[in-house]
Symmetry: C2
């Protein structure tokens, strides 16, 4: 089995692939779009895509890609993110003037960097920042990335766990071309649009509330090309195989202009 | 009057300040946090902060800053964003190999860049990218920024309006230390948290639906330090001075663990 992820070898996403799928072959991709394309083209059986982080919020681009690509969510995985301050061998922590990493990782270590007087500079990827640092040989720069990225490039970890908030989890979705409708302990993800009129969202949510269906996530996204109209993404507990879920979605389709099920998949259990 | 904005002189935010406030003094700030601080400290009477873009969605960091700072929203403004491809004088469009700009601007021109075989590189600011390009003197690099930034730095506009989607608007909020409760044609912004139980959001939205109050925006944000619990931000049509709005907020406070009014301000009319 071959699984696509966004980033360089050693990225947090690659770690999540191994934790979720076991020892599979991985396909690093330059962009999230390329990871979706790798599944569309049949090059990979699956892609594992980050969709939200407990601190930074949703990765909106991936919601858009879920909508544009006709792939199915078949599973979810929660990764605890531990950021390391990584330097070239022999460098001392006191030498570090600047840290390079992905903007989200820099943001999650902003307090640490500020308190140590280290400036932040954005690059495209966490593991990529370790590779760049190794190539440059710089001795006043550190990268922020995973333990695994430091090992992969033979670099030194100056400090482990420098994230400001320990409750730092990233939720990943496994996507593939064929749907797998899971029964027990399932979560279902849907996307829909509504008429732009008072009470529209209230009516939409009533289809779940009237059937005691527990929502785990609601997200609104502007509709491209229609300023200030919104798409809604909802995750709820239940499977497409459950009769009350089927009735709720039937009911929702009375109000929704567009409704799509993105997947019905096993709920993550840590 | 002195108004803070995030970015370099020539930033889209500075253009929005002049359009909204007229000829005031402006204070460029390195970060959104610094723009809020400029108002907190009394250095500026107001800050104008981007909160959402019709294509890219919400600027989540600024929702967090609205919550952390005790400032009040006193107005909103909608800016039509037109991106320019900007180069050093004398450079031809065919020479351009790479474009530098803020990640959001690069994302909004991704189709244009792809079709012209131009690589994208992220820098911290749109107008800042023009300044950097001027300083470097590079002849195979273009910056993506506003018309105004090109003029300010005496640079050449190779093409105007290179954004992929013309429906590109950014919504700004004016914040200051004292609230101004506006009456007619008002919009109100609130933030609240709910108990994590089935139907909680449905009950919360019922307080608006039962009174025919029109929601213009709903946004969920993870609660820092409490993974997968959410803050809700809602904008609705109406003023704190309206009796039915007062009753709706009273009703909401029966369900909400925390409820704060961020401001009641004149609705933007183009």
């Amino acid at each position: 089995m071959k699984v696509a992820f966004q980033g360089e070898p050693g990225a947090y996403s690659e770690q999540a692939v191994f934790n979720y799928f076991g020892q599979v072959e991985t396909q690093p991709c330059e962009s999230f779009e390329a990871a979706f394309d790798a599944v569309n083209s049949g090059e990979c059986e699956s892609a594992l895509i980050p969709i939200e982080n407990s601190l930074a919020g949703s990765i909106h681009q991936n919601y858009d890609l879920l909508l544009r690509n006709h792939l199915h969510i078949v599973g979810e995985y929660l990764l605890r993110v531990r950021h390391c301050l990584i330097a070239n061998p022999g460098v001392q922590k006191a030498d570090i003037k600047k840290a390079i990493s992905h903007p989200q990782a820099l943001g999650q270590c902003a307090g640490y960097l500020r308190s140590h007087g280290i400036k932040a500079e954005q690059v495209y990827d966490t593991a990529g920042s370790v590779k760049m640092l190794k190539e440059s040989g710089a001795r006043d720069v550190a990268a922020i990335a995973s333990h695994r990225a430091a090992e992969l490039y033979g670099m030194q970890i100056l400090e482990d766990g420098i994230e400001d908030n320990a409750e730092n989890y990233t939720r990943f979705l496994a996507v593939q071309t064929e749907p797998v409708v899971h029964g027990n302990e399932a979560k279902t993800s849907i996307v829909f649009t509504l008429k732009n009129q008072p009470g529209a969202l209230f009516k939409a949510l009533s289809v779940f509330a009237l059937r005691d269906i527990d929502l785990t996530k609601i997200e609104s996204r502007p509709l491209q090309g229609k300023p200030w109209e919104y798409l809604f993404y909802i995750d709820f507990i239940g499977s497409l195989k459950d009769a009350h879920v089927e009735k709720a979605l039937d009911h929702l389709s009375e109000y929704a202009l567009m409704l799509r099920v993105l997947g019905s998949y096993p709920r993550f259990r840590g």
